[in-house]
Symmetry: D2
């Protein structure tokens, strides 16, 4: 009910707050026999690590994962895989000034309204810190998907108004710039744009795109648990996401049927495929064998140094300037989180599909 | 697993295919003591009824709901509420020509890939007919929400390129035109646009917007079951939806923090509120007390009379022209379905919130 | 939450009250491709039909099942299977005298305490009528299990103090007597015992035993969803069941390890098997390949004609004599219900087991 | 699916194996505002600690719980409560001799059949070590129930053939003997009986009884999630449990309605109550306001030093004598585990009941 669990067969449960002792996740339902080591998980965590550039926070999080159960002699046993990361650098004093204040764009007020009080030292469960657990679980899901030839790849599509240009798209470039943009020219423009906003003590939003390759046709359930509906929930559950699209997305609303429909055809190996991919790889909630393409819109980081008007717990007006370690945009660090949530979702529906036929 | 159930506390399970004997839904978890009659449900079903204009299909579906359980002496008893509608006008002959063909934009191929065969007489569970059950459940959810002063109102925001203009917005106009657009001038332009596409044997997409008023702050769970994540899944699970937004949505990706953050303030009654509503009523996955505003992008109806190239089950190329009773756009009939899914989601999370405090 | 759903992959949701319009069930998650007709379900319903002997109620329930969805051209499609039975013989006047009274041994008081009021015309959801839906679902589960060579067979083991004697056990006899006892001599003694209790306007309890053959080793989940734990819940959820045992059950509490442990051995076909079966086919919650043997203890029917002291809704003392159509023992009619719940449970865990290995 | 989660609103997820690095549990859905400290949990863990007498293993498990999340300033925050205990004394060498052997009465064979291989160092997830996590979760549940005046108390009712005599019952005696028997004379006889079995290198079963006081009428759901059905699953999911009863249990099968029905009456404070409690506090799956009384039958510890015949993984016959740290009976240490599972179940259904009325 409290919603810290995601998935049905491949099921993850996360715990931990930004300023608590640790964060962690239990993956229940990963099939037995999958090779898995701490290093496989660590490479994913390293990708979301802050402090890698001047656009990400200076906070030093070692983020060393500990794999506590569910693996024996290098393979998963079918029992729950528990992973955790200690919170080493908590510096809770930074936050004391805002203990009673409802920060604009944050969930402070919602938490108080819901629970009667809150852990005022940071975002608690709403902190980006919580995504550490998602990424660890995503690493396991990616290993599992890899076994079936499925890959999940996300990148920064847009920072504020600066977009990757389709003709310049080069995935290899993604890991060569600090913004994870697969287009070096766009990355340079985006950096300049970000610098300017930082000078103005402001923050910026953006868009992450994710491509899932190799999902066979037939994955996803026809009604409520459509593959795209589950992906939507998975991705919208990441903090700061305000929009989700599959395939042509909002563009499809302005299209017409003769253009938006993808013609089926027969591939070289005799397999059924599609001539175009407006559908983004999903029709009627079920994978159609094409690449699955989704996009998530992130709002600007709500924590900004610029002074803002708000109220405190007592309802009195106060001004607040949020100093501390905050990224001017969450987008680059969110790339691996989107991959993680997409991977967990596909892993779950892939396993669920094993029950489709006698 | 098979995903015909939605919700945790207020939980709905639907069944039935477009060309089977009936469609229906069971609502389990509706609290006891809510006044409920068949007429309360029928008014919602009537709103999705086809055959109301030349933009909706001529098929005559009586769609008379039967309330079979869970109500005694006019009030819900707390036990499952079963509702069903018989399929009276099945005309399965219409569909025999496409029995073996994978219609572009449809889930035919996905169903065969998943289950090994399919009910080829129509869309089966992927038919718009399935939404009848959602609307019946939504009617119960709306009654429940009404008890707590919560209203759910959707309308057509856009048909193809024609949008409601914000200054012209007049909700009262919604029910005065066949497209459910709260702007008579836009409705007229959209009708003209639709006529033209129909002449070309083509179809059109659009956008539905939904406003949920009166949700108290504190509803929604902080991590995976965020209120917006659950709404996203609910709405994306409606056939033909390809995108979902909350508040400023994709626009937030191009905004900056100082503009996108909503300042908290104190209202006349001393209550905490917000000066703006870029958040769309949800922060960190929890309602913030403002109106909840969401949008869903619908693709154009995939069934078009124009000839399309595709393949059949054997992988051979075939041409297909889909005649029969198909709307040139699903958007007007989808308005009440979006309301239904939004209402079911909010009802569920509202009840779940009862467990938040000792 | 409201608990009208059972199972995870093979998932059933029931609805309907004894004196409402109908009772029904939706089976979601039955794999596609299973041959299934209404007749397959009807044979199971006929076995729980009342009015078959003087020990079961005179009420004439036609109990003709209607199969409304999920089957196409004689095979399951993978979509929800909806089945219902109309309530034809409701005679609600019979019950008006007890409208305000809390009948001893019934859930009347609990329903009022829980929901604030209740459908006073009969047992509502607590009526034996509700088991109709379980049996219909169980029929589908049995068909599915049959596909994998698994059979589920229950019988009356004990009526009051009269037990089947192990040496006399003859399954073929079960269907030759009205008490479903696989021992004609015991059946005759039990009939005589029942007659006497009926003369005294009293009722009798008993024990049902169920044997599940052909379950391969490896079914069941190691911790909370142990096969025996799930069977226990399934069987204890049948009205009037007060005890559950697997294998030696309570007898094991008085045994010692050297006797209770079953030695593993190698069968003629080289397969691993056990020399004895004290475990009842389940070790550590996982099937061990032997027959699964369980027992359920049923309390005496609480509705008795003899006068009883109790209170009414207002807390005032009243005397009540419950006349009408009540079996002096629920055991014979419960036999097929135990089979149904056991079959649903095994079907669910068998399908869940498909996710155990990469 | 993999079944490491129990409960719906108050939901626990356990992880960890006997010879892995640690065991732990996440409690999701505990309401906010409950005072909770590590010490509150430790007292429960200390009660299941081995090495307390010569009837429990010599293994020194410090079992110091670490409370990692979900508590702030001494109160629960409504977010997941993560707790773990490191495995300090693993001594995996002890188990190497049985690496390939299917121990009688253990789940070794089932694990191999299910997952293809297993962690052969000990019982893995089937070890009694796994109950540590249950007890930690149970401690939280007991704190929550205490807030509502509900207490959960279990004790050893029977060791082999030696039972507590009803007239001698004195709960205060429970904690004064090593077998947790509320009857010193029976405890002495049981100790003598155990000594003798140990000399014979054998083991013994027994019965735990549990009384839950203070549950208001109305808790439990009417159909599948009956309070007693949920308790049955909870308790049967504890390793070695082979039988479960509520109230008169199997005794009710031999009773008659006039004796088994409990007459309702009016208490001194005007409240509705029952003159007797054959029902064990639950009617139709819903609490009736009386004490809830349940019993669990435990089989003898399967690990015995006496030589047993069995087979190994290859199907070859082998003899096995299981030496090491094994209790001759699991019953005394299981007492607190039964309490824990009962408390978790009641906490869950108590919170679920908040959704019963508008």
């Amino acid at each position: 009910m409290a919603g810290s669990t995601f998935g049905q067969v491949f099921r993850i449960t996360t715990w931990g707050e930004s300023h608590g002792r640790a964060v962690g996740v239990t993956v229940d339902g990963c099939p037995a026999g999958l090779p898995l080591r701490e290093e496989d998980i660590q490479v994913y965590l390293d990708r979301r690590k802050p402090g890698q550039s001047r656009f990400t926070t200076a906070r030093q999080e070692a983020d060393q994962v500990e794999l506590l159960s569910g693996v024996f002699e290098g393979r998963t046993t079918g029992t729950p895989i528990s992973m955790m990361v200690w919170n080493k650098d908590q510096r809770s004093k930074d936050y004391s000034a805002i203990m009673d204040i409802y920060r604009p764009g944050h969930a402070d007020y919602g938490f108080d309204a819901k629970y009667g009080f809150r852990d005022y030292r940071g975002g608690g469960r709403s902190s980006a810190r919580e995504t550490t657990a998602r990424v660890a679980a995503g690493a396991v899901a990616c290993r599992l998907l890899g076994r079936y030839g499925i890959t999940v790849t996300a990148y920064t599509k847009q920072i504020g108004p600066v977009s990757v240009c389709p003709e310049c798209f080069d995935l290899a470039e993604r890991d060569r710039n600090r913004l994870y943009m697969p287009d070096p020219a766009a990355a340079a423009r985006a950096e300049a744009f970000l610098e300017k906003r930082m000078e103005e003590m402001d923050s910026v939003g953006g868009v992450v795109e994710c491509v899932i390759r190799g999902v066979p046709a037939g994955v996803g359930e026809p009604v409520f648990d459509k593959l795209d509906a589950c992906l939507a929930k998975a991705v919208m559950s990441i903090g700061a996401v305000k929009g989700f699209e599959i395939g042509d997305g909002f563009g499809a609303a302005e299209s017409c049927g003769s253009r938006n429909n993808d013609a089926f055809c027969t591939g070289e190996a005799g397999q059924i495929c599609k001539k175009t991919n407006h559908s983004g790889g999903i029709l009627g909630g079920i994978s159609d064998g094409s690449d699955i393409i989704l996009r998530a819109a992130f709002k600007p980081t709500p924590s900004i140094a610029r002074e803002q008007q708000t109220v405190n717990r007592q309802g009195n007006p106060v001004a607040v300037s949020i100093h501390g370690r905050h990224d001017p945009t969450v987008v680059p660090r969110a790339v691996v989180v989107v991959e993680a949530m997409a991977a967990v979702t596909v892993a779950d529906l892939l396993l669920r599909n094993r029950g489709s036929r006698v």
